[in-house]
């Protein structure tokens, strides 16, 4: 299992907590909570090691499009970039 | 291995040992001021159930254990489960007949006896595995285990677990050294908080007079403690060892209680 923590600048902030997804094959769960800081802090725990660059790219791309500040946790069980982005969008939609 | 239970029930019994329905040994045993009912599931190589011929707990064993426990409870007798079971029975017939419900009947009988205030003590003399252990022993209020060769408590037989989790048996044993819930060493398992007493026994298949005396004393103590202890299994979480071994369970319990409305 690999753990990564990444930071992205935020604009708008999340105003509520939200949780989506399941740590199941090909899926991930996302938790998001408000925090006082102006950035998005993302902790990723993933069952699949060695994909740090892909995580940076996927998350970088997501937060460039949706710069929403908050504390994010992703517990991943091999989700594709598309599924990760979907779960993040669902989480942000539930939290703003 | 499968004769251990028989050896110990003979050693502890105060009279005849009866064989009921081929795979249950029943005897009475004097423990201090009590007369306790000893129950032991043993191998029946001629069982009409082909998948339950090597000591496994199948439909017949579950049902006869349930009946024996209820009968002892009706007589107000403490129950001692002598445990050496390799697993539940794995068979198409067993599933067709609803083995899940018959094992539930055994669980119900044991729990019911304990919840009604009867001392129910498990004596693990060999294997205590999976559904077999749930049906016979794990629902006891007080658990005594032998610290000796061939004694193990497990969620699944090594070979089956290895194939299902796609690991080697060696890998599983390595995991057992690392993490107590996987341990094949009974003394390590005992650190998880639901073993009340470990008794050193040099060869569980061949009881010595000294060892029988020790075990009898442990059972007398066990019956007394079971009588005084809270009746519900949730009290296992209050054992001293559980404070460290099951800290996460304790946190979860506290959180659910705090948030209950």
């Amino acid at each position: 299992m690999q753990e990564l923590t990444l930071h992205y600048p935020g604009g708008q902030r999340v105003t509520a907590r939200a949780h989506v997804g399941v740590v199941g094959s090909g899926d991930c769960e996302v938790l998001v909570e408000p925090h006082d800081a102006t950035d998005a802090v993302v902790r990723v725990r993933t069952a699949v090691d060695g994909f740090e660059l892909i995580w940076q790219r996927v998350l970088g791309s997501f937060f460039a499009r949706y710069p929403v500040a908050g504390r994010y946790e992703i517990n991943d069980q091999g989700a594709t970039p598309g599924v990760v982005s979907l779960r993040l969008r669902q989480a942000v939609a539930g939290a703003t | 291995m499968s004769d251990r239970g028989s050896a110990w029930i003979q050693a502890l019994a105060a009279g005849d040992v009866q064989r009921v329905e081929g795979s249950l040994l029943v005897a009475d045993c004097r423990l201090g001021d009590d007369i306790a009912r000893l129950l032991c599931v043993v191998e029946d190589s001629t069982s009409p159930y082909l998948r339950a011929r090597r000591g496994e707990v199948g439909v017949r064993e579950s049902l006869v254990v349930a009946g024996a426990v209820r009968a002892a409870a009706a007589d107000g007798m403490p129950v001692v489960s002598v445990v050496d079971v390799p697993s539940q029975a794995y068979g198409r017939l067993e599933e067709t007949l609803g083995l899940h419900l018959v094992v539930a009947a055994a669980v119900d009988a044991y729990a019911g006896a304990r919840l009604a205030g009867l001392p129910v003590v498990a004596l693990i003399v060999g294997s205590a595995i999976s559904g077999g252990f749930l049906a016979h022993g794990l629902m006891a209020g007080h658990v005594v285990a032998f610290d000796g060769p061939g004694v193990e408590v497990q969620v699944m037989k090594r070979r089956t677990a290895a194939r299902i989790t796609r690991r080697s048996v060696a890998d599983l044993e390595r995991l057992g050294y690392q993490l107590a819930p996987h341990s094949y060493d009974v003394a390590r398992w005992a650190t998880l908080g639901h073993c009340d007493r470990l008794v050193a026994v040099s060869d569980p298949a061949a009881p010595t007079a000294t060892e029988v005396a020790h075990v009898r004393e442990a059972l007398v103590t066990g019956v007394g403690q079971a009588r005084r202890a809270p009746r519900e299994l949730s009290s296992r979480l209050d054992a001293a060892a559980a404070a460290t071994a099951r800290a996460a369970s304790i946190r979860a319990r506290a959180r659910i209680r705090d948030q209950w409305f």
């Binding site: - | 609803g98 009947a105 669980v107 749930l134 677990a161 998880l192 949730s234 099951r246 996460a248 209950w260």
Partner: protein, 301 residues
């Protein structure tokens, strides 16, 4: 999402099988009445998984929700089948058994609180070994303390079904609601094949699997109380009916006489012949009559 199908009987139904544990719990209970206990943001996770290179889930795959069902207090415990096949671990097990104990305590003090268990589980989470096994024992025990005071209703919808220790829990429930897609048993087909060979059980033979373990078979043989379609609405109706039926004089697992009569001398049988032989009535357990609770309810609840 389009509502074109909302009035179509089949396509308009909301599937239970497609819902995760949390969604099932909230969909069952009266809207706005339910709150989750020890949920994802409490972050009480398994302490055993990361040491084995496995990613924990924030709720440990067990969802505990309390609220109202048709206006009355009700506890729902739902296993998340998508997380390690719904295997019960230390933390999830403690959540479930604590909640059942609290419902039992409330019920003893006049605040009757039945429980609904969405069982979607292969049994013990093997990665948590003997702690998972003990967790099942503690769940069974708490259920048995609650059961004489308030009904415990098991719902098995699929796709995982209820096996292993959770098959035993299904056997202890006051009433069991199943779909056709559900399966209930002690050892799953794969475990039997691994242990006893493909001749004993070909786990790839889907027809055989459902003939032995399937919801329809369990209902036909008196081991389940209602066979419902894969719809939230039907599950809600059957659960409300089951709770209204109350606590029986004897549960299935107490009826040793019935079990003896059914099992007597039966050492070989084709699953297809078992329904005609045993029937849907289990001893003295009164059959569940879904017509006894009018549906949809007149007051729109």
């Amino acid at each position: 999402m389009t509502d074109r199908f909302a009035n179509d009987g089949y396509l308009g139904r909301r599937s239970v099988i497609e819902l995760g544990a949390r969604a099932r719990a909230f969909a069952l209970l009266d809207e706005g009445s339910a709150s989750e206990l020890c949920g994802p943001f409490d972050r009480i996770e398994s302490p055993w998984l990361s040491a084995q290179g496995l990613v924990p889930q924030s709720d440990d795959g067990m969802v505990v929700v309390k609220g109202r069902l048709a206006g009355h207090a009700c506890l729902v415990v739902a296993v998340e089948g998508g997380f390690h096949g719904g295997g019960v671990g230390e933390v999830g097990g403690a959540k479930a058994s604590t909640a059942l104990s609290l419902a039992a305590a409330d019920s003893a003090e006049g605040r009757t609180t039945p429980a609904v268990l969405f069982l979607e589980s292969g049994g013990v989470r093997l990665q948590e070994g003997t702690l998972g096994l003990n967790a099942i024992a503690e769940i069974c025990d708490a259920l048995l303390v609650l059961r004489p005071r308030a009904p415990v209703i098991g719902v098995v919808a699929g796709p995982i079904g209820a096996f292993g220790g959770m098959g035993i829990v299904a056997g202890l429930c006051t009433r069991l609601i199943v779909t056709r897609e559900a399966r209930i048993g002690l050892n799953g087909p794969e475990a039997i094949e691994v242990e006893a060979g493909v001749q004993e059980f070909d786990s790839c033979d889907r027809a055989l699997v459902w003939a032995v373990d399937g919801g329809t078979q369990r209902y036909r043989t008196g081991l389940a109380d209602a066979l419902v379609s894969d719809s939230i609405d039907d599950v809600r109706h059957s659960v409300i009916t089951a709770i209204a039926a109350g606590v029986p004089t004897r549960h299935r697992s107490e009826q040793l006489d019935t079990l003896h009569a059914r099992l007597d001398g039966l050492v070989e049988i084709d699953p297809a012949d078992l329904g005609p032989r045993w029937g849907t009535q289990f001893g003295d357990l009164p059959p569940l009559d879904l017509a006894s609770v009018p549906w949809p309810p007149a007051d729109g609840t």
